[in-house]
């Protein structure tokens, strides 16, 4: 496991890895316009981590992914989501304060990227939380399984 898989798998991974991440970020970004959103996009990005983990093994990724950094980022994503929910508390919790306000995400054209008020921001927050969360779950499980194998 720690040494990774064959050359073919590793080469294909090098190609697809970036594509998967880009696609994941696309899904997060267009979450308020097309099917998808923060969770799905985050899961797609995390699947790229999973692919890299399988192809290169834990040794190949040593230092590339810092578990503590990932967990901190996860907290930041969660707090950002809650903070956006709190921002609407003048009217109601989760009230969309930016919708149709004309500011950055307040465009009135419902099909534009710059629309939806706080929804895209919430998608970003959720996406951050999910991609880092799943990545750290994967890392912890791989570490656990490796300990198991060496015992």
């Amino acid at each position: 496991m720690s040494s990774g898989m064959s050359v073919i798998v590793r080469t294909v991974t090098r190609f697809t890895y970036a594509l998967i991440i880009v696609f994941g970020f696309y899904v997060i970004m267009h979450g308020h316009l097309t099917p998808g959103g923060g969770f799905q996009g985050g899961a797609v990005v995390a699947s790229a981590f999973a692919l890299a983990l399988v192809a290169f093994g834990t040794a190949g990724l040593k230092g590339a992914l810092n578990r503590h950094l990932l967990q901190s980022l996860e907290e930041v994503g969660a707090l950002a989501f809650l903070g956006l929910a709190f921002a609407g508390v003048g009217t109601a919790f989760f009230y969309n304060i930016l919708a149709n306000s004309g500011s950055v995400f307040g465009g009135s054209d419902p099909a534009a990227l710059a629309s939806g008020g706080v929804l895209p921001l919430m998608n970003w927050a959720v996406g951050l939380k999910v991609m880092t969360g799943i990545a750290s779950i994967l890392i912890i499980m791989v570490i656990g399984a490796r300990k198991e194998a060496t015992e």
Partner: protein, 524 residues
Amino acid sequence: MNALLHHAPVLLVAVPLLGAFAVPLVGKLGSGLRRFFVGLIALLTTAIAGYLAASFYAAGASPIVYVLGGRLSLPSGMVAPIRIMFELDGLSVFMMLITALAALAAVLYTSSFWKERSGATLKDSLMLLLIVGIFGMEMTGDLFNFFVFLEITSIAACSLVGFRVWNGRSQEAAFKVMTLYTLSGLFVLLAVGLLYGQYGGLNIAYLATMIGSGAALVDKIALGLLLTGLAMKAGAVPMHMWAPDAYGEAPGAASILLVANSQASLYGLFRVLFTLYGSAYSPQSLAWILIGLAVLTIIVGVTMALVQRDLKRLIAFGAVSQIGYMMLAVGVGFAAMTALQPSDFGFVALQGGLFHMINDAACIGLLFLAAGIVIRRAGTRDLQGMGGIAHDLKWTTAFFMLGAFALAGMPPLNGFASKLMIYESTFRLSPVLAIVAILASILLLAVFLRAFQAAFLGPRTEPTDVMRPVPISMLVSMGLLALVVVAFGLFPGFFVDRIVTPAAQALWSGRDAYIQAVMSGMGG
């Protein structure tokens, strides 16, 4: 209505959630700061709950509706209510008070350990998350949200049960409990799907109006799924097997939150029976299912407690039997309410059953917290290996005795007051039920006398742990619960009139008010 009061229902969920997510970040700055932060969040939550309850009762206990994400009136004139909302009536506020009490006691108890363990940050975070889930279950007015909060409590509770990863038994317990919780959650979700497919809505008040009289087959199946799933999470025999595992293996402070979690599931059961179906579909057989499960729970719980050697499993089986008392009383109330001629004793039964919930949370909580200290001091959980702890731990002994006597229904403590109401109202429906309840209560006293005799009395034994005084915050936490035990015992009328009667009324006759509070604002 001022802004804080207006937002209080959602703050009750949002503040601990914020705390749960922020704890790992705060924890990086130091464990002292983290403990201060967690305590602050718990105090804030309790303060909000107290404030909300005070103003709720002052305003005449009429249901409060809070709509997330927008105002109640829709510009498009939409009729089907699909928005997410919180709805609080007398029962929700009552349950909220129980949870706030349990949460405060648990956080206080855990804030000072004899020894700081690695992963304490995670534990604080999970405890706050469990509190979020319990509050959410008790306040939501939406069936799907109820499922979501149910799953939040499942995940947080099971993580707490399996918190001691260095201990195989706790992993075993956590796996079993998680599988069962997930299964019950999926049954609840299936019922939600059935109701959605039938009526196209998820709001409890909306569904209650749609179910109407003469429930269809789909409604009956959904009711069966909800009833069984929630009864399992509450710990009713014969689906109680997870309860001793979970209560026994969870850390001391988490056990009391697990009790609050079980009671929240029981709340969900009552909400489904009385509000969602209520007068639309309430055959006598339904009440007798509840009473049958309750009698089984009481008998099996207390007799199994008698033969346990593990102190925490013994208390856990005691807790299972107490769930039976609540189900018995509410089942009797349901039977009386749905009989052709409703009789007043049903209302007393509901009062007794609900009053017993808060008493049970205080007594069982006190026992679990005291047992945590005893086990730490004795170095074992086996009653056979304990003895003479009363020589060293004076306060813990007093608290354990108080909790045990109150739970077994010794006058003038709180357990007696609620059990008296249960006995006397149950007797009117069937004397056999009251006799079973009284005998089980006597047996419960025997159970706890055994535990007390084995663990606390006898000659002084050598403690395995280094002798250290019990941390003051643990004593304060137990003192808080002991205060509730004594105060509710000496002035039961005061508390029954103020907080229990509105809750019982919400079940007895509050269905229309609950529905009206939502439906009148939705234009449909």
